[in-house]
Symmetry: C2
Subunit: 277 residues, 2 copies
């Protein structure tokens, strides 16, 4: 496995190694990332994983400075998972001058997590486009855990005609149902014990929808109230059309319930797809 | 020469034909475009020319509906110039749904022509990125006649890491100095006779700068006043740093004087690079 931090070296190294499958990450890898790498392994001849904590997608007061950086351990896990190349650019390599061109995503980027993290998805779209242009992969794998991000990247690739196939990876969960996330490491033991409630509430919404319940607002409110009653600060619990991420309407068949809520200082997100009738 | 209007067919056709040199146009081709095609011919094994009148870059009240469309004659000229592929997508092919993702250029896109055509360079940047993603050329040729456009595209490619070399083509002029432009066809005979004054005024500024004159504002004002005195409505005459397009400062060595002005209903632009000491 090669570890490369220069764009020019990466491009040179990738010549003739197509098809390339790409997994962009911010490092601090867990089993969820590794599942994406294994999925990439099945897609491409050469698997490239990037590790880059992207300043563009962090807002003021967010955890950019404290975001866990564990490069050595990450590389050990990536080697075991069969990655071929780890791309670890510096901030200077990706932003030799302040980034002036941005990819401006549509209004959906201002809803859900975007309503609580202004500019976040602009930063995500911009860095992902840069990385896709650098790696030029045949396919790129993004986890469903960041469902809104996956949606926005799919739309960006379609609308900007980026020549890449976007592949979705299933969310990996701890035994108690908590979706794996680098930010789980911020949780105290008591918060960690409480954390699976988010997924349980989303599962209740999913079960109700799949049982035919159509009062979506009532389901969202009930889940949010339960979380708030157990000490969470709820950003949103929202049922959406899985294809458009617009608010779910009776008659939609493929839905997704998404949630974001904070336990202490840690913001957790999760989602579950639901099949309505 | 092949004429292709479907993205999928173009991509399939281009397989194995690298290096590709690309010339994006809006059609109604003149000798200036043909010079870019000949320049591309010297760069790539396969020369692709696109013809697409991009609605994103026209403002309300501009000449989108009336912009001259002369596909048959364009193809005849392109064949003679040695183009291999003409890409003529429909609006539906490039925008199957309303374009929601836009490339947002930096503040310089709101100056010069951008101050008179709000959103123009966002539309240019977005369509050029789409076309570059579709054609995936090794190099793309843009004329210096649209100097601000060339500047913005160079910056976009650099900042978004688009894997393409941008090549600049020299402006082609009529014998009387008028820069060739599709919009020259809008001019009445009397306007056509008057039109070279724009270039003559820019040349006077250039000569003065190269002779050591450093009162740039006086030079700009004098040129604008002369044009206004001959019936032009002047949008701007502006001396800029050629590398940054920021206002020229004494001590800058590579400058460019840019002008935009209207004769009747026709808006003409032009520019000349100057070497100061």
């Amino acid at each position: 496995m090669e570890i490369i931090s220069a764009i020019a070296v990466l491009r040179e190294t990738l010549k003739g190694r197509q098809p390339v499958a790409f997994v962009p990450t911010m490092g601090n890898l867990h089993a969820g990332h590794i599942a994406l790498v294994e999925q990439a392994r099945r897609q491409g001849r050469c698997v490239v994983v990037s590790i880059f904590v992207n300043p563009l997608q962090f807002g003021p007061g967010e955890d950019l400075a404290n975001y866990p950086r564990t490069l050595e351990e990450d590389c050990r896990r990536l080697q075991a998972a069969g990655a071929d190349i780890v791309f670890t650019p510096s901030v200077q390599e990706l932003f030799p001058a302040p980034q002036q061109f941005q990819v401006e995503p549509p209004a959906i980027a201002g809803e859900l997590c975007g309503a609580y993290r202004p500019g976040h998805f602009r930063g995500v779209a911009t860095i992902v486009l840069k990385l896709l242009n650098i790696v030029q992969p045949d396919c790129a794998v993004f986890g469903k855990k960041d469902y809104q991000q996956l949606h926005i990247i799919r739309a960006m690739v379609r609308e900007l005609n980026v020549p890449v196939e976007i592949v979705a990876g299933e969310t990996v969960r701890a035994e108690d149902g908590l979706a794996l996330s680098s930010r789980n490491g911020y949780l105290s033991p008591a918060e960690r014990a409480e954390a699976p409630r988010l997924q349980r509430q989303l599962a209740q919404v999913k079960d109700a929808v799949e049982a035919g319940q159509q009062d979506f607002a009532a389901l969202e409110s009930a889940a949010a109230a339960d979380l708030a009653g157990h000490g969470w600060q709820v950003d949103y619990i929202s049922l959406r059309n899985a294809a458009t991420l617009q608010h779910a309407q009776p008659g939609d068949t493929a839905l997704v319930v998404l949630g974001a809520a904070r336990l202490g200082k840690t913001r957790l997100i999760d989602n579950l797809e639901c099949a309505s009738n």
